[in-house]
């Protein structure tokens, strides 16, 4: 029987339990947040580290609270714990006694932070689990945990705890091309809702909204997944393959990987359209990646010149007046592209019509935004059509300008296959030009294959030297591989090189010809190609990628001379897109690939798993919620025997009983009594029966059962005990009582109660 006297004790206990409940909710939030970071760092070590640190601090906070430590001290103690963890883990013995941070420790931390900053810039996603990243993870998790704990529990402002999550969610939003996956966001949202609800529960000890929260959480996961599946453009952030370049002009973390990802986009997105006065279609160059670190091609940071009022741009480097040039104009309208770089034909001499502040790079004539973005720009670019003769190209004196020394950089540990292949491919070539042509022919004329998926399937998506080595063996890849391979091979042969990224000329609109033709460029036209430097001519593009792009006329000795009119013969016609179409069926398989693009599958896999788990567990949650609601109702006031009876019947149904509503309470009680062996439980059942009969059929107002909840729990325990392990599991996972009995096929008539 319940007694009112014990109530204060119970309240005290629940308040304490409430703190633990909030802590668990916070842990869930932390867990959910960690999902959004999956794919940033290789492996799962960081994830366990994150959970370990987070739970350590959160649990410590709650333990301190339970011990009665003053609230003000708790965050300070937590900070101290974090400092100890950091010193232990990253101090390299600089700490006093190894655990107390000293000045040296903080210097070491500062160094790690700097290292982390540069490494973030250097590494693509997923980054290798470097120590500086682990440091960031531990530090970030610790700070987040302390913030969450302080806001949600100490200051009782769980709503503000959501703010603490935002910086964490921004990280993947910046580093992943598509931003945070909606599924991960939904999980975070669900966890956050759960936190709010736990808080409400703790304060009011009422308002059962558990199921509602779960329903909301599950629903948001479902909605997010549906959106992710039905709107690939949204998932990957539209044609914003360079949206990650928020760090600086020309600085994106992994432009070439982003490029590959965009090429694998299931549905091409319209990027821009242009008209051109050039006699032949021209590539639209965004920027050049001229710094090779061994693992990645990057744009080198240089001082940029603001575009002056006249919008004129300096002279192309190394271009002598002897080379025949012809000016042409390209009028571009950018539809959907968030690049910091402006797509223009190379070399550009002037740009007009831009809005916002733009600057140009004197080394490669890249035009980058200072305070704006390429999206929605309408502009007219004047470029030069360079038509060097083969003689001019061959005339390369072999002297490389000092400013281009870095464009010859080759890592010391370059795989031997790259050097060997370069030498083998250029046997017999004497001049640099011949070597370059030989390299291009090596790619185009031997058995290389174009595939956007093979590298992923075999685990070498990217542009590092290890990737290039693998590519040379596998002989299958896409433009990034061809371009970076040729560029690095050219460097081994002494030819300055860089990788350019931009767009293929695209396809002209049907029915339009000549200079008035409007070309439409989509995300499928994203391309990378090498540019090699020849003294007297300057930077000259090559096209090693099999089946894509236009082979420059000056690389074909047979048609060697002068104007490269219509190099592939069909580029100005409406079917001019000289591409190997991306097979939509194979793009689907890329989702199962490894490496960088495994982020999305992992996240959606986690989301899908959570969805499945949520759906599987939803009945269990609903059933538990119903029981808890009923028990709470029973404890809140006297009476309610019919509620208890419903719970008893539902539980019996969960255990596989047939419980018909044509059965009188007495008849049902007799059946229950048959399986109860314990006398206490039998007595409880009798009291329960009496109560429900009195309540349902007795004279009104004369009877209020007391202690119904306790009796009910006794009887339920008896039922559970009898059900067996499998029966109990079944009752938890697939509670039959959630289906109204009226929906069930009515069985044979029950035995009469008589």
């Amino acid at each position: 029987m319940v007694s009112i006297a014990v109530a204060p004790v119970a309240v005290g206990l629940t308040r304490r339990a409430g703190s633990w409940r909030l802590t668990s909710a916070l842990l869930l939030v932390l867990l959910a947040t960690s999902f959004s970071l999956i794919g940033l760092i290789d492996g799962l070590g960081w994830w366990f580290l994150m959970l370990f640190v987070g739970s350590l601090i959160l649990v410590a906070g709650t333990v301190l609270r339970t011990l009665g430590v003053p609230r003000v001290l708790i965050p300070l103690i937590e900070v101290a714990i974090l400092a100890v963890i950091l010193t232990l883990g990253f101090g390299r013995g600089t700490g006093f006694l190894g655990i107390i941070p000293t000045t040296g420790t903080f210097e070491r931390f500062g160094a790690l932070g700097d290292l982390a900053r540069t490494s973030i810039y250097d590494q693509g996603t997923p980054a290798p689990p470097l120590i500086e990243f682990m440091f960031l993870i531990v530090l970030g998790t610790g700070v987040l945990a302390i913030l969450l704990d302080t806001l949600a529990i100490t200051l009782k402002l769980p709503g503000w705890a959501g703010l603490a999550l935002v910086p964490v969610l921004v990280v993947p939003a910046v580093l992943f091309t598509g931003g945070v996956s909606p599924a991960a966001l939904a999980v975070c949202a669900a966890a956050f809702l759960f936190l709010l609800r736990s808080d409400a529960r703790q304060r009011h000890q009422a308002t059962p909204r558990l199921a509602a929260s779960f329903a909301i959480g599950a629903a948001s996961i479902v909605v997010a997944l549906v959106i992710a599946v039905t709107a690939p453009g949204f998932d990957r952030g539209g044609a914003t393959s360079f949206s990650a370049s928020g760090i600086s002009i020309g600085g994106t973390v992994t432009p070439l990987i982003d490029l590959g990802r965009d090429l694998r986009r299931p549905a091409a997105v319209h990027v821009l359209s242009y008209t051109s006065t050039a006699p032949a279609p021209q590539y639209l160059k965004l920027t050049s990646l001229d710094r090779f670190t061994g693992t990645v091609w990057k744009h080198r940071e240089r001082a940029m010149n603001r575009l002056p009022a006249a919008d004129t741009i300096g002279h192309a480097l190394g271009l002598s007046t002897a080379v025949a040039t012809k000016k042409f104009e390209t009028t571009v309208h950018i539809d959907s592209m968030n690049s910091r770089w402006l797509p223009v034909p190379f070399p550009v001499t002037s740009v007009s019509g831009l809005s916002g502040t733009w600057a140009w790079d004197p080394a490669d004539l890249t035009i980058g935004a200072v305070d704006t973005n390429a999206a929605g720009q309408n502009y007219k670019a004047t470029s030069l059509l360079i038509s060097p003769t083969i003689a001019q190209l061959k005339d390369d004196t072999g002297l490389v300008p000092a400013s281009l020394i870095s464009d010859l950089f080759v890592p010391n540990d370059l795989p031997a296959i790259i050097t060997q292949t370069a030498v083998q491919a250029t046997v017999g070539a004497t001049s640099k030009y011949e070597k370059a042509v030989a390299l291009q022919d090596y790619f185009r004329l031997s058995d290389f294959q174009y595939s956007v998926d093979t590298p992923l399937e075999q685990g070498y998506g990217g542009d590092g030297m290890a990737v290039i080595a693998t590519f040379l063996e596998a002989k299958s890849g896409y433009c990034v591989h061809f371009a970076s391979a040729m560029a690095i091979m050219a460097r081994t042969l002494g030819i300055p090189s860089r990788v350019s990224i931009g767009y293929l000329p695209g396809a002209s609109s049907p029915g339009a010809f000549g200079s008035s033709a409007v070309y439409n460029v989509t995300s499928d036209d994203l391309h990378a190609w090498p540019e090699l430097y020849f003294a007297g001519v300057g930077w000259v593009p090559f096209e090693p990628t099999v089946g894509r792009g236009l082979i420059p006329s000056y690389t074909r000795p047979d048609s060697a001379l002068t104007l490269p009119t219509n190099p592939t013969g069909s580029a100005t016609t409406q079917s001019s897109r000289p591409l190997v179409p991306v097979d939509p069926t194979t793009t689907a398989t890329s989702s199962s690939g490894r490496g960088q693009t495994a982020i999305q599958p992992v996240v959606s896999g986690v989301g899908g798993g959570l969805l499945v788990a949520a759906l599987l567990l939803a009945p269990a949650f609903l059933r538990r919620w119903r029981r808890r609601t009923r028990l709470r109702q029973l404890r809140d006031e006297w009476g309610g025997a019919t509620i208890a009876w419903s719970e008893l019947r539902d539980t019996a149904r969960d255990f596989g009983w047939y419980v018909s509503d044509t059965e009188t309470p007495r008849a049902f009680a007799a059946r229950v009594g048959d399986i109860l062996s314990d006398l206490n439980r039998l007595d409880a059942l009798d009291r329960l029966l009496l109560a429900v009969e009195r309540e349902s059929f007795g004279p009104p107002g004369r009877f209020h059962a007391r202690g119904v909840a306790d009796d009910l729990e006794l009887v339920l325990a008896g039922l559970e005990e009898q059900a067996g392990r499998i029966g109990r599991l079944k009752a938890v996972v697939i509670p039959a009582s959630l289906v109204p009995s009226a929906w069930l096929p009515s069985s044979e008539t029950r035995a009469a109660n008589a």
Partner: protein
Amino acid sequence: MNSYPTRQPTDSSVAPTEDSDEMGLDELRRAAEGIITNVESVIDGKHDAVQTALTVLLAEGHLLIEDVPGVGKTMLAKSLAKSVDCTVSRIQFTPDLLPSDVTGVSVYNQAERRFEFKPGAVFANIVIGDEINRASPKTQSALLECMEERQVTVDGTTYRLTSPFIVVATQNPIEMEGTYALPEAQRDRFMARIAMGYPDDASELAMLNTRDTSSPLSRIGPVVSASQLRAMMTTARAVFASAPVKQYAVDLVRATREDRDLRLGASPRATLQLVRAAKARAALDGRDFVLPDDIDALAVAVLGHRLLPTSRALGHHHESAPVIEEIVLRIVGATPVPVGTVGR
């Protein structure tokens, strides 16, 4: 052979009596147990039948005991009557029994030079009608009118019957020559019909041992007075029947009217008597409110004799009672019990 009514010469008040005061449920239970013990000392192994019979008695209903000869129908009726200290009359129905034998007759008293009413057999608290289906329809209906109206009108004068007034009739279900089966309308007057059934071996053996020498009926005497019985009835009538239970009774009775296996369903009077009987049963159980279980337990007894099965449902059965019992149990099993719909 004419069998004239016999009267027990105790407490022969013909005049109607006022309802006695209520008695407590515990007292009622004790008294009822006394009656049951008394009756069961002469009838072995028929607890259910005795229980139902007493229930009907408490509900002031009329009881029809239907079974083959020799299973103790009359013994039950007689022992029940004997347990109560009240007037009992017994009518042996025969084809030549006249209505006036039942109701009474006005005879001319020459000494006083006026007509004088000689009360018939029905002027008793408990009237035992043996083999009621052997009487002519005219006589049957004379009795049945008394049962419903609880009064007798002879030569323009109305005489009220005693209270309590209970008819316990027996009849043989197997049709024989010279019997007149009770029409449905008249069967409806009985609150309940029970069957005795054959006793089990042990009971039959025990009966041989105890009854061989003397009539057991002679050994038992009244255990409750008429006023006590009236108090018990009053208490039973005061038992609370909640709206859900009443609704349940209505649902049940309506279901008999809609059942495909029944040619004739139960009447509204059946509903009334079902609830009344259920109250009595609850009182016997020591409860002051009716449970659906009471309704269920009495459904066959109270509804059974009012129903007519279709010939399809009857099939090759000679007797309808078992068929009807099956149907009623099926209906009971298919009618939802209202738990928790009212009350909170």
